[in-house]
């Protein structure tokens, strides 16, 4: 079968730690296959060589935190046929969205010697709050297997298999003993989107919610149970305010627990 033209892949960074794009470089065994399947046209973390757009597939990492980035994401959208956001920053605003619950000017005055050099927005927001997003891949960081699945699905013209159910399903598929029921360990798994393969519960830790809210989260019911397990308002607010603090279900739940 004749090989079609290689599709052009671009990777873009906004406010982020780079961990999600590193997941692509972390695909050591599959990296050559990726480079064979797509033309890596723009990926500054991997190479300074750049090919101009338009691009068939853009992977967008990071959140929008500056006026400049708010404009840049519009350009990325215009030059991208298919735009996929990767990671908690791009899909929910990331850990830096903690600023949304505070006064960013106060932060600036405390952190920077010359706050007047800093041109930033009052909030950190998801890419989808600014442009149309074709697919969102969750995680902090994303799971590289899921990233390969998204790219493979795009190449095959099918929907990626990244189920939006709870982490609990992944625990049960793996045969894990529930850390909350059997150990009394607080766990966000029942309200959290699957994808990590239940990494923390597999190692007897509660889920930290790195993949954000699952498809139909019932955070308030889970919170009631976590409270019974001994968590106070401060702890409850903090557990929902990590990497996905600005994801709607987690944000709304955290706001109920101002100490």
């Amino acid at each position: 079968m004749p090989k079609p033209r290689r599709l052009k892949l671009a990777v873009w960074k906004f406010a982020s730690c780079d961990g999600c794009q590193l997941s692509l470089l972390d695909c050591e065994d599959e990296l050559l296959a990726v480079a064979d399947a797509v033309e890596i046209a723009h990926f500054l973390e991997a190479t300074r060589a750049r090919v101009n757009g338009p691009y068939d597939l853009s992977l967008v990492e990071g959140s929008i935190t500056t006026p400049h980035d708010a404009e840049r994401i519009q350009q990325v959208r215009r030059s991208s046929r298919f735009l996929v956001t990767i990671g908690a920053c791009a899909t929910a605003g990331g850990i830096q969205a903690l600023r949304n619950f505070a006064d960013v000017r106060e932060y600036l005055s405390v952190v920077y010697a010359r706050p007047d050099y800093i041109n930033t927005l009052a909030t950190s927001t998801a890419i989808a709050d600014h442009v149309t997003v074709d697919f969102e891949l969750r995680g902090c960081p994303i799971n590289k297997r899921q990233l390969l699945e998204v790219v493979s699905a795009f190449l095959a013209g099918r929907r990626p298999v990244t189920p939006p159910h709870s982490v609990c399903v992944e625990c049960k598929l793996a045969g894990n003993v529930c850390v909350m029921v059997a150990h009394g360990t607080p766990c966000l798994g029942p309200a959290t989107h699957a994808g990590c393969g239940a990494l923390c519960p597999t190692f007897h830790r509660g889920c930290y919610g790195c993949y954000g809210p699952m498809e139909t989260p019932n955070a308030s019911s889970l919170t009631n149970w976590l409270h019974k397990l001994g968590m106070d308002d401060r702890a409850l607010q903090r557990i929902y305010r990590t990497f996905n603090a600005n994801a709607q279900a987690f944000r709304e739940e955290s706001e109920k627990h101002d100490p």
Partner: protein, 384 residues
């Protein structure tokens, strides 16, 4: 393996702990993979065991809604606990199973179906409720027009050593569902553990020709009349110590007559839709099928995995999910399990094992939900 139906005859043989060990050795010699209860991660799970040393000697469990704790009694008992987080469907109806792979080259597309395994299981420590659950899955996956070859290959060569329960768990209600605690049928051998007063022995009932043949290979003696009476007392004690109960006779009419009951909304406010109840349920059998391709597009695989009526994808049709609310999903699960299952398969889909209660992260209790509807039937949104 085929089982003779229990005819009420009493256990006839007695095995010592060494005799039980000899039985496990006999399984190994016959090439069985032995799976039984063992302690892992602070729970009694089902996993490979090598010998009686792998069994949870001296351990028991405390169970309640959303709570499971393992405690050590330090006695010699090997089976003094209720069912844990796993069920035998893990082995007979695996959570993840590749169904086929597809290879493509320049000229051809080749489909390679997954070959069912030839490994034979020996299950040790199957409870009465679990035998009923296996029976239900047999009916669903083997009994109809479409037979699941993967289940069939695993199931038909499985040797079952059942255990009469010496302890009712805090969330057990098999006595209400008429599924225990005494094992009645569907086993090859069934044992009752006698421990504490007198010598530590296991009384053995033979349930099949394969069971009898296996028993003949290990040292045993005839049980005494005292031992037989003691074994009867074990299940009798367990039967009256159930942690939960459901009045089960009219469940179908009760639930199907209350589809708009306000309780569905109330339970939905607590339900997490996390799917744990369906994953731990020994009769839930639903699966989904996922197709994946690799980067080259020359290799594809089709996998089957456990699915749940609590996920949105489960009822997804063109345009969206039919059961979009937690209320509709919980109601679907419970009414299917306790009511419409009867129309579909002839019996209730619940065997009273209590797993859905214990392993619900927020302790939702199916027996309590039934009670709530029973106590205020026909309370509908329109009439209240």
């Amino acid at each position: 393996m085929a089982g003779r139906s229990g005819n009420g005859t009493l256990p006839l043989a007695a095995l010592t702990v060494d005799g039980l060990q000899a039985l496990l050795q006999a399984f190994r010699q016959h090439g069985y993979r032995i799976v039984g209860p063992t302690v892992r991660d602070q729970a009694i799970v089902y996993d490979d065991i090598e010998s009686v040393e792998g069994l949870p000697r001296g351990w028991t469990d405390e169970q309640d809604g959303g709570r499971y704790r393992l405690t050590q009694l330090g006695d010699d008992a090997l089976f003094n606990y209720a069912v844990g987080p796993h069920s035998w469907k893990q082995f007979l109806h695996p959570p993840l199973l590749r169904l086929l792979s597809v290879e493509r080259d320049a000229a051809t597309v080749r489909v390679v179906p997954e070959i069912p395994p030839t490994q034979r299981f020996a299950f040790v420590g199957v409870r009465a409720c679990e035998l009923h659950a296996i029976g239900l899955q047999d009916r669903i996956l083997l009994g109809g027009q479409y037979v699941d070859p993967h289940y069939s290959a695993r199931r038909e060569s499985t040797f079952i050593v059942a255990v009469n329960c010496g302890k009712a768990g805090g969330t057990c209600f098999c006595a209400s569902m008429n599924t225990g605690p005494k094992v009645e049928k569907g086993f090859d051998l069934a044992i009752t553990e006698l421990v504490g007063e007198g010598p530590h022995v296991f009384l053995v009932e033979e349930g099949s020709d394969a069971g009898s043949a296996m028993l003949d290979e290990v040292p045993h003696r005839a049980a005494t009349q005292d031992e037989i009476e003691a074994a009867q007392a074990v299940v009798a004690r367990t039967a009256v110590a159930m942690g939960r109960e459901i009045r089960s006779g009219d469940l179908r009419e009760l639930l199907l007559g209350n589809l708009e009951h306000l309780r569905w909304e109330e339970v939905a406010s607590r339900c997490l839709s996390c799917a744990n109840c369906t994953m731990v349920c020994p009769t839930c059998f639903c699966t989904t099928v996922e197709d994946t391709t690799d980067l080259t597009g020359d290799h594809a695989e089709r996998w089957r995995r456990w699915d749940s009526c609590f996920t949105m994808d489960f009822s997804y049709m063109h345009g969206g999910s039919v059961r979009a609310s937690a209320r509709s999903r919980y109601r679907q699960w419970m009414t299917h399990k306790l009511a419409s299952w009867i129309d579909q398969f002839g019996t209730s889909g619940c065997v009273g094992c209590g797993r859905c209660i214990t392993w619900c992260p927020v302790g939702i209790d199916i027996t309590e939900e039934v009670r709530a509807i029973r106590e205020s039937p026909a309370t509908t949104e329109g009439s209240s």
